[in-house]
Structure formats: structure tokens, C-alpha cells
Symmetry: C2
Subunit: 401 residues, 2 copies
């Protein structure tokens, strides 16, 4: 595991970068004020960030009579970070400069039958070839890849993959061979990358105890404590989808009965809608969930009752982890949250006091992720940025974030 | 919140003390070897621990030709730590020397009708008078008090108390006034103190992700991550007892339906036993649970079926937090665990694979607390010891524990 001083260093770097991205150029004293770090710590970190090519000097500021202050900004002409989101039906790529602006974006369609690591490597190599062609003159600092299923981060292993029936594939090694890339590769699953994205570049920044609820085909809860991703003993923390909320509930795709995912994952929601009287059919899950959102907006009875039922299950499940973990903030994200969050959240807020203990409820904020950015990919790139920043030696006290 | 360097310092101190308590006298190089700390860090910490009166020099060791090595031991003649466990029917006191040996123990009986803070203060003052009389010549370094219900640690407030219907009592201030004690007072609830006890002096030492399941009248899960008690945003983390495992389950004492506590807290277990055909009656809950354990041992059908049913519910509830938190170790403690743990644990082990995801199960150890010590009281004293050790300035790198 990481050392605590490395954790603090990363936290301090991300805090400075975040402030620098939001408002630049900025002087060292400005950054010290915003981060709560000492000017000495900021100066040490800035020196190293400049050496690493992450930060550049960007002009001088008149300091009112004294020596003019050097202003700093992100090095947008420096190296690039690549984020990759691997899903069942697509592989998405984004290349970022060090201001985390998207320089290039490309998507490969994946056929459901392409279920071998080799096929997936073909798609990643093809996407990466396009990225490298467009950004030929830029150094790639790191590649972060989000994979579905269970990932052994240290070993770079895709331990299990629910969609493709993989076991223990040395994916990082295969990918490194295939791409022949000099830059380091970081592998993790999407629950972890999206949480890293929220922690460093989303609503989670500065939150001591963060929970990120991902609502999609599956559901999960990414956790971050003390400004650090919480992975658990085997990087499988957050498997909230397979916690039981009703031993008599429907059978889940994991084979167990009564998992919350069986009720509030997209297929579970659509099952509930059908049970409430909706007999239409759709090409895709995604279009069906969109139709449910549209029906709810116009007050169609089956849709309204489905939202109520899903919100009731969601409230039980959210209360269960809130009572256990007592977080400061719960952020809802994922494509189902994007489509139905507006409908679900007011119902959820109304129901939570019935299930969450008063003391935990008092400290709790809940919100929808309103970032326009793809947090899974940005989070994957953030893992690569973490790796790059880990070359820094300075520590200092801890930033306020 | 505490600073990270303070966390590391505490972790290092407790690691050294733990090894020193287990095997003393020990030399500085011995301690460095056992803790994984550098000899320099150990030497700095030892110097400060000697200054604080926690550690003493205890003779010389021949180092085979070189300069003889100074041997160290706990300062058993130094100050004392007091732990207090406040429950509905008793207040228990233990005074410890700095080897954490019990010097004196006393118990006050509390009448169920004595439900005001004043009455409770009377009992604590009476017990403390007895402690001070017996240990008149010893300095009290700190007093740790475990209270039922919700506790605001920083403010020293008893926020709510389920048994006595209190709200927001400034208990620490009242207690300080009443006792006129020079030593600092540390207040927390029993879930937190028992977890501190397990973390520093029990099975939790060196465990990165620890869960302590307390089974009693109520149930809860104390969490400790990175060698540090996890409190949550409002010190109410661990309220596992009021997580829902069955929306159609029995009504809980918190007023909600389907909490796991309503099934596996002592009253819930006894209700299940009655439903299985046991129609005997007992003076106390405790004697009833003992009778259930005895019946299970002799293979009485209602008892065997009750244990099966409780183990089934326990497996669901344990799986829920294991899937979420992915701990390395789950320790079962509390008076119901003491009585029924031997019966429940094999059933629990058998059932967990049906509910816990494979990757989390692979890393998981579960065990009964086999400490002969009262971990609630020892843990309360450990909080006082933490406070005392926080005067130390040295940090160093992190101990292996
Ligand atoms: Zn499941
Ligand atoms: Zn309850």
C-alpha cells in the first residue's frame, strides 16, 4: 500500500492543480491561501511540478511596490494523459493536456461477440493508433484504463469480467506488449476510476468521506476517505450492488436472491416498469430508460409508480451504507442516474429520514453529478496523473483541499 | 480531525508498546526489528516515551563484545489509566498501569429508574472515589469513559442515549466538574472503545482494514482503517444494527421495520427461539441467552433451529458490510458473541460464500474475540493512552505493526 506521506503529497498536488486549473495564472501566495498550505510547501511543490513539466511560469504580477510575483499555470503544451473506458459495447478514448482539457476523443464500437482479451486489445490498439497519429508531437505521460469487473491493481490483472467470462488475464502486460508504449499503464475498474474522477476533479474534492453511487446496468458505491480512494483488501470495496435488501427479492445476475442491483440496476428498473403495466419494447436498455424518464415527466401512471418503487429500494440501500459509513457527501452518477436522477432524487430525499439515523442524516449531503465530463475516463486519466505526480519528493503539511 | 503525522506517530507508539508489553525487557534494536521502524525512529520515540514516564530503562544486555545494550520495559510504577464502561444496569471501572495490567476493578450497580445524568454522575463519582482511595499514591494520566448511544467526541457531548432518553448532555464538562480531576477525560461510545481496544490490544493490531462486530442487546460494527478508528462524519459510523436486511422483517426498537438488530440482537434472538417452540421464561436476557447456548450444546431442536435462523440473518448482514468495505479481518465480540459465538461461527462460515463476492471472501478472516479482557473498558483506557501519547513530537516512517 501507499505510504501516508505519499498520500499527503498527492493530496497537496491535486489541491494545487485543481485551484490552478480553476483560476490561472496564480501566484505562489495565492495558491498557499487557497490550499491552506504554507508558502514554503507551495514553493517546494511548484519547483518540482515545474521540473516535471506539469506547471509553467506564466508571467509576472505587480505585487504593489515589492518584487513582482511570478505567476503560474498548467503546462498545456507539455505531455498528455490518456483515459480509456472499456465497456461491453464500446471502448472510449480521451486524450488530455495537463489542464485536463480534452485534446482528442475517439470511440471504438465493440461487438458483444468479441469477448476475448485479444479482440479487446485490437480495439484498444486501434484507438490508440488514432490518438498517437493526431497527437504525434506530444509525449504520453501515462495511460489509465477502466475495465469492467474485478481488477488487481498492483498486478495489473483483470481478475474476473462478468460480461466476457474472463479469469485472471494479465491485461496490463498484454496491453504494454501490444502498444509498445514507453508510458506507464494504470488499470482499474470503472467504479474506482469514476470515484477518482469525482475525488480530484468533481464534487468530491475536499470531502473527507465521499461516496459515489454509480447507477447503470449494474450498481456500486465508490468510497474515498481522507482524500484517498478506499479500495478494501482486494480492491473489491464498493460492491454495494450485491448487498441484500430483501431475501425474498428477485434473483440477481450474480445468482443470489435479493441483491439491490436486481431491483435498481437498469434491467431491474425495466422489470419493475413492465410489472407496473408498461408493455412496450425497445431496441436497447438505454432507450427504454430514456422512455421511462419521458413518461415520468408527463405523469404517466406506470412510470410514476415505477420511480416510486425504485426510489423506495434506493432509499433502503443508500441508508444501509450511510448508516455504516456515515459519509459527508453522496454523489449519484452513471447513465441511469443521468436519465432518472431528476425523478429519483426528490423521492429519495423524502424517504431517507425513514431509514437513516438522525445523527448521520444531519451531516449528509446528497446530489446528482452535474459534471458535463465523462468521469470514468477522466478518472482513469487521473490515475495516470497520480502515477506521474508520485515522482515528486516534497511532502509538507496537509492541504485543506 | 487528526493530522496524518499524528496518526503515524500514534501507530508507531502503540506498535512499540504492544511489542514491549508482549516481550520485555527489550533493546532498541529488538524493537526496531519487531516494528519495522528504523533504529533512529525507535530511539527518538523511546527517548520521548521515557520523558513521558511511559517507558523505563530496565537493565543492560550483553551485546557480544560491543557496548552493552540498554533494555527497556513499560513503566509499571508510573501513572495509571482509568477505563469506565457505562451501561444501563452497571458502571464498571478498571485502573491500569502502563503495562495495561489491571491494578484495581470495581463495579457500581445502576437501577433502571436512575435515568438522569446526575444519577449517573453520582455512580461514576462513587466508583472513582474508591479507585482514588486504593491508588492514592499514583498519578492518573487520563480517564476514558464509554457511554451508550451517540457521542460527540470533540465536544464531549452525550448526543442521544437510547436507554435514558437524553439529548445533548455536556457530559464531559459535568463529569470534569464533578470529579475535580486534573487528568483529561475522553468520552466515546462502546462501539468505538471496543474497536480501539481490538485495534491496539486485541486481534486488530496490524490489520489494515478491521471490522469489529459487537453482538449484544444491540448490534454494531466498529471499523478501523489504516491503523485508525474510522468514526464517520458525525462519529456515528458502524450503525449496522439499523441497516435493513428484510423490509418485511420485525419492527426494531428504533421504530423501523426490518433492521438486522431486530433479528439478531438478544431480544430478537429470544423472539426467534420462542417462535421455534421454546416457552420457558427467564429473569434476565443474559440467563436466557446462556440457556439457549446450553440447549444448542445438547442438541435441543428449537435451539438448533434458532441458531440456524440467527446464523442465516447474521450471514446476510455480515456479507452486506463485507461486500461494501472488503475488510481483512472481522472479529466478533460482545456478550451474545461470548455465549453463542461457538454455535454461530461454523454456520456463518458455511453460509458466507452464498452472499460474499469471491474476491472479498478470499481475503477475509473471521474469528471470535478470545481475549479474556474487557475490551470496552480497555479500549476506553486506550483512548486515554492515545491522548497521553499525543504529547510526543517524533514521527518517523510508519511501523509495520
Ligand atoms: Zn447480485
Ligand atoms: Zn433499527
Amino acid at each position: 500500500m501507499q505510504s501516508p506521506s505519499r498520500d499527503i503529497r498527492l493530496r497537496n498536488c491535486f489541491s494545487m492543480l485543481r485551484h490552478l486549473l480553476a483560476d490561472h495564472p496564480s501566484s505562489r501566495p495565492d495558491l498557499a491561501k487557497k490550499t491552506g498550505l504554507s508558502v514554503a510547501t507551495v514553493s517546494n511543490l511548484v519547483t518540482e511540478l515545474i521540473d516535471l513539466g506539469v506547471v509553467v511560469e506564466a508571467g509576472l504580477e505587480d505585487s504593489g511596490g515589492g518584487r513582482p510575483r511570478m505567476l503560474l499555470g498548467p503546462n498545456t503544451d507539455g505531455g498528455v494523459l490518456i483515459g480509456v473506458d472499456v465497456a461491453t459495447t464500446y471502448v472510449k478514448f480521451e486524450a488530455y493536456d495537463l489542464a485536463l482539457q480534452v485534446l482528442f476523443r475517439i470511440e471504438e464500437q465493440v461487438d458483444l461477440a468479441e469477448d476475448t482479451p485479444e479482440k479487446l486489445l485490437d480495439h484498444i490498439a486501434s484507438g490508440m493508433a488514432a490518438v498517437r497519429e493526431v497527437l504525434a508531437d506530444r509525449e504520453i505521460l501515462g495511460l489509465g484504463v477502466s475495465l469492467p469487473g474485478q481488477v488487481d491493481v498492483a498486478g495489473g490483472i483483470s481478475v474476473s469480467n462478468p460480461n466476457w467470462n474472463w479469469r485472471d488475464v494479465a491485461f496490463k502486460e498484454l496491453l504494454a506488449e501490444r502498444l509498445g508504449l514507453d508510458a506507464p499503464i494504470y488499470l482499474d475498474n470503472s467504479l474506482k476510476t469514476v470515484t477518482a474522477g469525482e475525488l480530484w476533479f468533481g464534487d468530491g474534492l475536499g470531502v473527507e468521506r465521499l461516496a459515489v453511487v454509480v447507477l447503470g446496468t449494474g450498481v456500486g458505491v465508490g468510497l474515498a476517505f481522507d482524500g484517498k480512494l478506499y479500495r478494501g483488501a482486494t480492491n473489491s470495496a464498493g460492491e454495494w450492488g450485491h448487498t441484500t435488501i430483501d431475501p425474498n427479492g428477485p434473483v440477481c445476475r450474480c445468482g443470489r436472491r435479493g441483491c439491490i442491483e436486481a431491483r435498481i440496476g437498469a434491467p431491474g428498473i425495466l422489470r419493475q416498469w413492465a410489472a407496473m403495466g408498461c408493455d412496450r419494447e425497445w431496441e436497447t436498455q438505454e432507450s427504454a430508460i430514456e422512455a421511462l424518464a419521458a413518461d415520468w415527466k408527463t405523469g404517466e401512471e406506470p412510470a410514476v409508480r415505477t420511480i416510486e418503487a425504485v426510489a423506495r429500494d434506493l432509499a433502503l440501500g443508500v441508508a444501509n451504507f450511510v448508516n455504516l459509513v456515515n459519509p459527508d457527501l453522496v454523489v449519484f452518477t452513471g447513465w441511469v442516474s443521468d436519465a432518472l436522477g431528476e425523478a429519483l432524487l426528490p423521492e429519495l430525499r423524502r424517504r431517507l429520514p425513514d431509514h437513516v439515523l438522525e445523527s448521520a442524516l444531519g451531516a449528509l449531503r446528497i446530489k446528482l453529478d452535474e459534471q458535463s465530463r465523462n468521469m470514468v475516463i477522466l478518472g482513469a486519466a487521473a490515475l495516470a496523473l497520480e502515477g506521474h505526480l508520485n515522482r515528486i519528493k516534497s511532502v509538507g503539511s496537509r492541504a485543506r483541499l
